[in-house]
Amino acid sequence: MSGGNGIAIDVKGLTKSFGGREVVHDLSMQVRRGSIYGFLGPNGSGKTTTIRILCGLLTPDSGEGTCLGYDIRRDAEKIKRQVGYMTQRFSLYQDLSVRENLEFVARLYGLTDARGAARDMIKRLGLSGREEQLAGELSGGWKQRLALGACTLPNPQLLLLDEPTAGVDPKARRDFWNEIHALAADGLTVLVSTHYMDEAERCHEIAYIAYGHLLTHGTVEQVIAKSALTTYTVTGEDLNEIAAALTGKPGIDMVAPFGTSLHVSGRDVAALEASIGPWRERSGLHWQKSSPSLEDVFIELMSRSKDNFQ
């Protein structure tokens, strides 16, 4: 049943349109077993659609591939048994209690001891004492935790998490990621979509998708290196004035304020340095050449892809 070579997801040329609009375009990706793969991209970029194709909820118009060694077109039923899918919107039954929701999932997957499995999961999630509370009455963080628990209950080999931490407070987010790392350490493969840069940096590998196109992928370091972006960080006074003056100058692709500093980035180093030249001598300003942040890279990719595909 395995993909043999330690690959959990291996798809090529996935394309999917809705009502004539192409949502996913010629998407190919590989995810290693036991890794945490981050899926990034702006809203409406096709992340959810890709995840749904991977777990058999949508059939691709073209393209092929395997998920856990099963063909994504023919073996959707087999994939469903091995995959835990956490939807973007909370999709457990709000009018069922924590325990009842977990027991329902356990029974559906045919666990021999559904009650016992639910009880163990409640303990593991730290939900003891709340097992009779209705799922709809839980706070956002607890809901996400419960949803993750329901996904992992049938011991899947692959977790597909669609923006699992949207709208969750930082503490709950950190707990959630600790749990994901613990699961990956146990050998689970995790594909997780997110908007948060700090979460992207917690992934083993990331992919950036915009307007249905996979723009870049690799480890965080690889993605930053591939961008070929040069960034100068400026600190000092009158940064607003400088930002306004530099925006749109040749060689300057992006000017972004970060608290008390300003990031000025461009792909053409020579043109960039020529444009900022007059400002570098100005007193009260401190210029430093630095490597771009992941966010710089993504925003630059996004604005570039907008020109290409929109």
Partner: protein, 387 residues
């Protein structure tokens, strides 16, 4: 929540009896949700009770305790006997006994009574001679329905009274002139016909709506997405969603028939077990149709509208509201395609005529066929993906 400290205890997955386990999982879930949904549960109980009270008591084309007067111009045994018989039907309540024509007219005109009977002088003697004298009946026809059915039943009642009290042997013909319709029972109680019919209509309405909403609700609440990502098959979802409501339908049928027998005195001549069996078939048929609706529509509002689209013809063309035999042929053909038509025949025949399975074979088969048709459509229409 540290998974490192407590590694997940491995719970085994077994494939045996997968169909039953998954259907059972669905069924348990539906039961819990039904129990939590207090409003729906109240509806299950209140709907039949309310409808029965309305149809059984309020909406009644046959009058009860019609305020009446009698103009007695002869105080004979026959006259007394007729009055007593009239009062026994519970149609009429004789409030006034007058001897003067003017008083009689005034009572009617003022609306103090809606109905008056005039027994003329020499009535008894004329009857015994076989002269067919006229028993004069005056009714306030401003409520024509009440009046006409009261008048309609009059002849029969009086004749029965005469037969019992005065005549030795059968009278050769009506001993006096009153237009009388041939009626099945002297009180012509509409509840006898309506209560069994209500069992069918109430079951159609509630069963249809409950399952019509069940799938669309999962779609609207977003739970369908994760349900579809789990290994459950369309047939299993359907069984899990239908079975709890079979019990609900059974409860409703029990309630209606119980009230009908206990409160309205509807007879239950046939086999109770047969009635329960065929009612279960009818309930399942309606649930299947409701479930089919829910696989055809986009949201809960459409599901409600489509249920009504099915419910209205069921009421109009099944023989519940209008006699089936009186409808044109095309309407009868349409009616044969509705489960309610067949169930009405079944429930009326079992309760009122004591029919057996032998008599009801055709309608039973028709119900089963409609159920299988609906289930097949539902299972093939159920979308396994979000495409």
């Amino acid at each position: 929540m540290s998974a490192v400290d407590h590694p997940a205890p491995a719970h085994e997955i077994r494939e045996r009896f997968g169909f039953w386990k998954r259907s059972y999982a669905m069924l348990v879930k539906e039961f819990i949700q039904l129990r939590r949904d207090r409003v729906s549960f109240a509806m299950i109980v209140m709907l039949p009770v309310m409808q029965l009270m309305l149809f059984g008591y309020a909406i009644n084309t046959t009058p009860r305790n019609l305020p009446s007067a009698v103009l007695l111009q002869e105080d004979s045994d026959l006259a007394r006997s007729i009055l007593k018989a009239l009062e026994n039907t519970a149609y009429f309540r004789f409030l006034y006994e007058v001897h003067d024509v003017d008083d009689f007219d005034n009572l009617l005109k003022s609306g103090k009574v809606l109905f008056g009977v005039e027994i003329p002088r020499g009535f008894e003697r004329a009857v015994r001679r076989g002269d067919r004298p006229a028993l004069l009946v005056a009714a306030d026809a401003t409520d024509p329905v009440a009046a006409s059915s009261a008048i309609g039943s009059l002849g029969m009642v009086v004749q029965t009274a005469l037969k019992h009290d005065l005549y030795i042997g059968d009278p050769p013909e009506m001993p006096f002139e009153i237009r009388a319709h041939a009626r099945y029972n002297p009180a012509a109680a509409s509840s006898l016909n309506i209560v069994p019919g209500l069992v069918g209509t109430i079951l159609t309405m509630t069963m249809l709506i409950f399952t019509a909403l069940s799938v669309t609700r999962e779609v609207e609440r977003g739970t369908m997405e994760s349900l579809l990502s789990m290994p459950i098959k369309p047939v299993e979802v359907m069984f899990g969603k239908i079975v709890p409501y079979v019990l609900v339908g059974f409860l409703q049928a029990f309630l209606i028939i119980g009230i009908g027998v206990g409160l309205f005195g509807v007879p239950l001549l046939g086999n109770l077990f047969l009635l329960a069996l065929l009612s279960t078939l009818f309930i399942t048929t309606n649930l299947s149709i409701g479930y089919t609706i829910s696989t055809l529509v986009q949201n809960q509002l459409q599901a409600m509208q489509m249920s009504m689209m099915f419910f209205l013809p069921s009421i109009l063309l099944s023989g519940f509201m209008f006699p089936f035999a009186g409808m044109p042929a095309w309407a009868q053909y349409l009616g044969e395609g509705l489960p309610l038509t067949h169930y009405l025949r079944i429930v009326r025949a079992i309760m009122l005529k004591g029919a057996t399975m032998q008599n009801l074979r055709f309608d039973t088969l028709a119900l089963a066929a409609l159920m299988l048709l609906a289930m097949t459509i539902a299972v093939t229409r159920f979308r396994r993906t979000l495409d």
